[in-house]
């Protein structure tokens, strides 16, 4: 698989300016911008980093640059939401899509562990729904409260969930806006800090799970985001990362994306 990817990248480097992927150097692996002449044997596909964040940064910095990116399903979904919001220029990006392994799909609870532009690998079976999410509606309010109070109490306000998130490309963040969240408190104030993010994620989260990996407090953030994504689909028929042509559902009128029957709480 990885060899296949390396060959494709080698080929693309003739037509493109550079290709974004992971690179092993010395003791570690990090995002890298492969250019002609670089040693492609250093190209890696794990661990995962939000490569579209880098693509966006490069597109903004170099207005003419034509890039390739080695992408998983979640990377491509991130790309779709970012391109839709003018953070990536689709005309200057080609996606070298590859399929995740069945194990990866499992641990990511990934419903679509491969990109639309699949070049390498075969689609594995989708992962299961996170059991907590699957059972969530049966959970009484008091238990939901206890659950999140316990988890949020550990938050050390590193903003890692936001910093690592490919969809959190804002210049200014509501979580840092003193009008919503009193600054300097540990754990950060409830409910504003975490719920503002959850609300923003409802139409953006592409379930890459990076936020949970980056969380020093091990908060199961995507339980909340998955629930919001589920509602977003149920209420407004919107699935983040699915369709580059679908407008942000909360921005348009009821005529454009009608409100379906609300689910019971």
């Amino acid at each position: 698989m990885i060899e296949e990817i390396r060959t494709i990248v080698a080929g693309l480097l003739d037509e493109l300016d550079a290709v974004v992927a992971l690179r092993r150097s010395g003791e570690g692996v990090a995002p890298h911008l492969f250019q002609k002449g670089d040693d492609l044997s250093e190209l890696e596909i794990a661990p995962r980093y939000p490569l579209m964040t880098l693509v966006s940064r490069l597109h903004k910095r170099f207005p003419a640059i034509r890039l390739g990116v080695v992408a998983r399903g979640c990377d491509e979904r991130a790309y779709i939401e970012m391109a839709k919001r003018n953070q990536i220029d689709p005309d200057r990006l080609s996606i070298i899509g590859f399929a995740c392994t069945a194990e990866e799909a499992q641990e990511c609870y990934c419903a679509r562990p491969y990109p639309q532009q699949l070049l390498v690998g075969t689609p594995p079976p989708p992962g299961p729904v996170n059991p907590i999410v699957a059972e969530y509606d049966a959970l009484p309010l008091a238990e939901r409260r206890a659950f999140w109070r316990r988890h949020f109490a550990r938050c050390i306000k590193c903003y890692g969930c936001r910093n690592i998130c490919p969809e959190c490309f804002c210049e200014a963040c509501a979580m840092e806006d003193a009008v919503w969240v009193e600054p300097g408190l540990l754990a950060p104030p409830f409910p504003t800090f975490h719920l503002i993010r959850a609300m923003h994620m409802a139409s953006r989260c592409v379930a890459c799970r990076e936020c949970e990996h980056a969380c020093p407090a091990h908060i199961p953030l995507t339980v909340l985001y998955d629930l919001m994504r589920r509602d977003m689909e149920a209420l407004l028929g919107y699935v983040p990362g699915a369709d580059i042509a679908a407008p942000p559902p909360l921005s348009v009128t009821l005529e454009e994306t009608p409100l379906r029957v609300a689910r019971g709480h």
């Binding site: 003791e27 692996v29 990090a30 980093y49 910095r61 300097g184 091990h218």
Partner: protein, 686 residues
């Protein structure tokens, strides 16, 4: 289009997290957490995420500065270095090497601290070298050396997540001081059900999620620890085999501890007797149990006693020499461990080799060509006083800021203002640098290569990602240049890599450490005596460094200053997660500054009512030594009668209030306890 990600080690706290510094065409464009690093595992705290926030600050020093008729004016390197070299030579000739003092730095690399110790001893010929470890873990070094024969953290951080079954955290606000270590503790508690006991005057974040929280009166640590041991012994929970086989002095210790019944301890410390019992059982019955502490234990006039008591408790329950247990002092700075290892102390050479030992002196003499023979040198606090009294005529400070970090700042200021010749090497014009005669522009961590040694004796690489601004230079280069200016040889290093080779030659515990191995393995725990040695995550396995572990019989003593009618509150100081030490870097980092832009004092609502704050937002806090004004946060998370001030803020420096009274052996000041008065400022009521 030059795109790079440079792997390096965080400069905030001693956890040893790593991150990639992303640069595009030589400009810093971002930070990626290092998923492959064993400590941070792709996670960072807010300081780590914003670790480069200050690097491009317009306040950075870009040229050497020389004081001309009262003013600091830009100068060339040669001019500045010649001036310093000339002055130091003159002073040494007139008043001898011990009229010169040197402050090394826990922020700088091992290589730089090694060079600084070499400069002091080989070039100047004095042992007057120390650094701010004095102000944090000196009692640990002394106390644990006495008990175990080695003054460092006994175990390694990853064990907390995988093996520890009970954490006893005392005097450490771990989630704010060492967030990524707290992360391991949280995971152990979440996923393995490990027990968490927190003993602290403040209801810290970990206290709130703890299985058991014991609030207590600051400064009564020994009483509480003796109380825990009393319960353990009286309930027969001690580890008799361990005590018999690996320790000495048990009976004397036991005799003292017997006096500390939970009821008596409750009287002294305010810890409810039954909760003390529960804590003792939880710690003793869930081996491996890790005792984790920090400044709350050490920054007392009884710092060494506290540390010895901690050692007693761990030995009593056999929690030493095994994975997941141990006595774990968390080092506050990125390289405070390394600075100590590298001999930036007045009493030891690198690797804790005594300056008083003839053979050690000879060993270094042989390699260096010369060294000091003047015996144990002065500590930070002593040097500052000596400057004030004129005994110390010249002081060379590398990347430290005693004008904010020292206790009783007004006194410190008076002293340093009298300095005949003060050289400060830093990246910003710190409060201390403002008093200097010569200022040398150093390089920030992203601008130089080297190594840091994390709190668990983990040596990791620091790598250069960008060039220093203007004429600023890496500190190791500066030391070499200065040494050469003074005619010294043995300072012609081409890179830190070469310096590490010399370190390995002279430092047994680093003997097996080299850049090649670090490049391959990522890290090594000292002791690492040989190039094929895997390193030592867990100390004291099978035998203690000193042979048998030593129990010390320790009696409780009150802190030097207690609240009274004039100063009715007990002030304790500490950190906020959003800032680091004297704030020179974090307060210049927008994302951190916006979280906590200014100093504040925490006080209990009852106390707020007592002083008639009614809704006011600012207070005046005064002690016998000074007075500051700052904002107030009313919170139930602190004991009535106790107030807390973070120490990062020069304009409202907690250390204007703190007491310079020091521990007799470790010479650490009592930052954690002093008596203050708090009054509302009335100009803000509208």
């Amino acid at each position: 289009m030059d795109y790079r990600n440079t792997l390096t080690t965080c400069i905030y706290c001693g956890a040893g997290c790593q991150m990639y510094i992303e640069t595009i065409d030589g400009q810093i464009t971002g930070v990626w957490p290092a998923k492959t690093n064993q400590i941070s595992q792709g996670r960072l705290c807010i300081k780590g995420w914003n670790v480069t926030g200050f690097v491009d600050s317009p306040d950075r020093l870009t040229t050497p500065l020389i004081r001309k008729d009262g003013e600091l004016v830009p100068a060339g390197w040669d001019q500045a270095l010649s001036l310093i070299a000339g002055k130091l030579r003159a002073v040494r000739q007139e008043s001898g090497p011990d009229s010169i003092g040197i402050l090394a730095s826990a922020k700088c690399t091992n290589e730089e601290n090694y060079l600084m110790n070499k400069f002091a001893r080989a070039v100047i010929g004095t042992n007057n070298i120390d650094h701010c470890a004095r102000l944090c873990h000196a009692p640990t070094v002394v106390g644990l050396a006495a008990a175990f024969g080695s003054g460092a953290m006994t175990n390694s951080i990853p064990e907390f997540e995988t093996d520890t079954n009970c954490f006893l955290i005392m005097g450490s606000n771990t989630s704010e001081g060492h967030p990524l270590i707290a992360s391991r503790i949280m995971k152990a508690q979440q996923e393995r059900g490990a027990r968490l006991v927190v003993i602290d005057p403040r209801e810290t974040q970990l206290a709130r999620i703890a299985d058991l929280y014991l609030p207590f009166r600051p400064g009564t640590d020994v009483a509480v620890l003796n109380g825990l041991m009393h319960v353990i012994i009286s309930e027969g929970l001690e580890d008799r085999l361990f005590i018999a086989g690996r320790t000495e002095g048990y009976e004397e210790m036991k005799a003292v501890v017997e006096q500390y019944t939970p009821e008596r301890v409750e009287e002294i410390s305010g810890v409810p007797a039954d909760r003390l019992r529960q804590a003792a059982r939880m710690y003793a019955q869930n081996r491996p149990s890790a005792f984790i502490y920090s400044m709350g234990i050490t920054q007392h006039t009884t710092g060494v006693d506290n540390v010895k008591s901690v050692a007693n408790l761990a030995m009593l329950t056999g929690n030493l020499g095994i994975v997941g247990a141990g006595v774990n002092p968390l080092r506050g700075q990125n390289n405070v461990q390394g600075a100590c290892d590298m001999g930036a102390l007045p009493n030891v050479y690198p690797g804790y080799q005594a300056v008083t030992s003839e053979e050690v002196q000879k060993k270094f003499q042989d390699v260096w060509g010369s060294t000091s023979h003047t015996g144990v040198g002065l500590t930070v606090t002593e040097m500052v006083n000596a400057v004030g009294e004129g005994r110390l005529r010249a002081l060379y400070v590398m990347a430290e800021n005693p004008m904010v970090s020292d206790p009783d700042l007004n006194h410190a200021r008076r002293c340093l203002e009298r300095a005949e010749f003060l050289v400060v090497q830093d990246i910003f014009l710190s409060e201390t640098a403002q008093l200097a005669h010569v200022v040398l522009p150093g390089a920030a961590f992203v601008e130089k290569d080297g190594t840091f040694t994390a709190t668990d004796r983990r040596v990791q690489r620091v790598r250069k990602a960008v060039e220093p601004p203007g004429e600023a230079r890496a500190d190791w280069e500066i030391i070499c240049l200065l040494a050469q200016k003074m005619g010294a040889t043995g300072f012609d290093f081409a890179s830190p890599k070469e310096i590490m080779e010399e370190i390995a030659r002279l430092t047994p515990s680093y003997a097996g450490i080299s850049y090649e191995r670090l490049e391959e393995l990522g890290f090594l725990h000292w002791p690492c005596p040989a190039p094929d040695h895997p390193g030592t995550p867990v100390l004291h396995q099978g035998r203690f460094a000193r042979g048998l572990g030593r129990f010390h019989a320790v009696e409780f003593q009150e802190p030097a200053e207690l609240p009274d009618a004039d100063y009715p509150f007990t002030l304790t100081t500490g950190r906020s997660i959003f800032h680091f030490h004297t704030g020179t870097m974090t307060r210049r980092t927008a994302k951190l500054h916006q979280e906590v832009p200014e100093a504040y004092i925490e006080m209990h609502p009852d106390d707020a009512a007592r002083i008639g704050l009614n809704g006011g937002r600012r207070v005046r806090v005064s002690s016998r030594r000074g007075q500051i004004e700052l904002g107030v946060r009313v919170t139930r998370r602190i004991k009535p009668g106790v107030v807390f001030i973070p120490f990062h803020f020069a304009e409202a420096a907690a250390n204007a209030l703190t007491n310079a009274a020091i521990d007799p052996t470790a010479k650490i000041p009592e930052y954690k306890v002093c008596a203050v008065r708090v009054e509302p400022c009335h100009q803000d009521v509208s």
